[in-house]
Symmetry: C2
Subunit: 357 residues, 2 copies
């Protein structure tokens, strides 16, 4: 999405250097900085620009305001052999996410499956990052999260669920992991803003006005429709509910409808976002070799399907891994808005500016 | 859906008597009969008519043809403390489903979570039945299944995934469980046939012709679109893939694209359908009382949302539980086609006919 506005590209190590210095300026400890950088840079390399470097200024603002704890004491309680709760102590969500998935993976290694509900967290960025973290350890990974209200219920008049993401990953021998990451709305909120900025009509059945009616005019949008639109949105809304129940109910937190907004005036009060993480050990079901054979066969069948017109049929993640290879070679792009935001940060925080490639 | 064609209503016990006698005529053992009846009658009482009593003649045909084993020896292997595989020995899918979820629940009670992949099964009907079975035991339940190809991949030209369902349920104190059950296409295949029979156009973005292009004409439909349609179908297709990987890859079976069709000439060869079952013990994450409080708060928030126009905002399952109460009071309806099919079965198998209420 960024390429039309690209003004500079930067090297990954330069971006990481910048993020580390900026987060350190706001008091974030080593573990928090590492987690934020890992998640944001993964998202930017994948081309998931809505959840990449764009969000650094927001997280810095949250740290400055105090609603995120820069030096959290995360406490994991393993209540039963394969499950537990992580109290994230209002850590930045990326640290909560990687920590929780690591516990889930550790339990799955021993028990076949492991699950962790996370309380007292904050926005964790791209859900796919944590599913990937499980796949990198040879596990299937699944994560969901709640978030503040942006999406209508089916037949609802106002926003209730967040865009509550669902991400799922699987390890593939000799290739990049399979990574699927979706919001339970059709489009993300920032797409509405992007379309508004360029005066473009939205697709049909993705957004609603203040009365809950479908609209294609960005300026009228008060909420997103759940995936499936006005006719089949009970599916998207139900998936949002699945994410909500696994996240907030299992962790004992408030549901998303009662969360403070991610972007709002109050940067001091912790929001209490919650998440859920699941790691599945294939060896708990079948011999690993057989698992990998079947997964390989499935992906080969999928990728060899004929596409309509000139379209290519891809597996989830294929596009992102290609983008990563390209950006690792050519640099990570910053559009005008991000270039300006990073220049402003450099000046305000006294950090060496990014070096355009 | 049936009410427009209803000609008779029957009592639940009469329907169960009929099903039991018919299945016994085809050699199905006690456990198989009980499972089929439990699932079909639950679906019919819920109003999920596509997966209710309508399917009995199909299952009888499969038993007669030999592709379903009427007296299977199911073998569960608990490979790690919280996970295992069930080889269903070509049982009818409902027996495989209830058996697998019972194993998952048993492991979850002890370990906090339990998961079972099922190999060598067959069509298991309404996925929600097995999620419900977990909720009836105080667990969150989740199940997915693969099935034979009916749904396009995103940008795909021909059917690849089945309608691969996802069902999720949660126990609610003092009320019916929360039950969410969706296919990963927008509409089921039999909706195409129903619309064709009454000469009605399909909704937009739900079905495709033989070239993979969107069509609204039932007679032209060669495949269903994944949930999200031609623009956002990567979401529905990805959810179908999640169901596929958890089902066939974890159980070591062929993926859905390679399955024999559910409805076809070959009723002798076992199809090798696969499923996945997950039971989550809330006590593995949080005190049960706190869990129930939060779930109650969430559902109260959801149900009190204002609806557009005169619409009511419902939680998943609300409509089905209402239908069940009504059908338990008034009887279960059979439309003309089902009434004729059951009359024909009664005559052919020498079973006492259903008694209309």
């Amino acid at each position: 999405m960024t390429d039309a506005y690209t003004t500079i590209r930067v090297a990954r190590h330069d971006l990481e250097r910048f993020m580390d210095a900026a987060l350190a300026q706001r008091g974030a400890d080593d573990a928090s900085r590492d987690a934020v950088i890992r998640a944001l840079v993964t998202a930017s390399r994948w081309g998931t620009d809505s959840h990449g470097l764009r969000l650094l200024p927001h997280y810095l603002e949250e740290l400055a305001g105090g609603r995120i704890n820069p030096r959290p004491q995360l406490r994991f309680t393993r209540r039963l052999p394969a499950t537990g709760q992580l109290d994230a102590d209002h850590a930045i969500g990326h640290l909560a996410g990687y920590t929780a998935m690591a516990h889930a993976v550790e339990m799955a290694r021993e028990m076949g499956i492991g699950a962790v509900a996370v309380a007292n967290s904050s926005h964790y960025g791209a859900a796919g990052c944590y599913a990937l973290a499980a796949a990198e350890q040879g596990m299937l990974g699944l994560t969901v999260s709640n978030s503040d209200p942006f999406v209508l219920l089916h037949h609802g008049e106002r926003a209730f669920h967040g865009t509550n993401p669902i991400a799922f990953a699987a390890p593939v021998v000799g290739g990049n992991p399979y990574v699927f990451d979706m919001a339970t709305s059709s489009i993300p909120w920032n797409r509405v803003q992007q379309y508004g900025a360029i005066g473009r009509q939205l697709p049909d059945q993705v957004a609603a006005n203040a009365a809950g009616g479908v609209t294609r005019t960005p300026g009228e949008v008060a909420a997103l429709l759940p995936l499936g639109g006005s006719e089949f949105g009970f599916k998207g809304a139900g998936l949002g509910g699945l994410a909500e129940i696994l996240s907030s109910t299992l962790s004992g937190m408030l549901n998303g409808f009662r969360l403070l907004p991610m972007v709002g005036d109050d940067m001091a009060t912790p929001r209490g976002v919650s998440h859920f993480f699941l790691a599945i050990n294939p060896a708990g079901f079948i011999d690993l070799e057989h698992f990998q054979q079947r997964l390989g066969d499935y992906l080969a069948d999928l990728r060899s399907q004929p596409g309509v017109a000139d379209a290519e049929v891809l597996a989830p993640g294929d596009r992102e891994w290609r983008c990563m290879a390209q950006r690792d070679a050519e640099g990570i792009p910053l559009d005008t808005a991000n270039r300006e935001a990073y220049a402003e940060l450099a000046e305000r925080l006294g950090i060496g500016a990014l070096t355009p490639l």
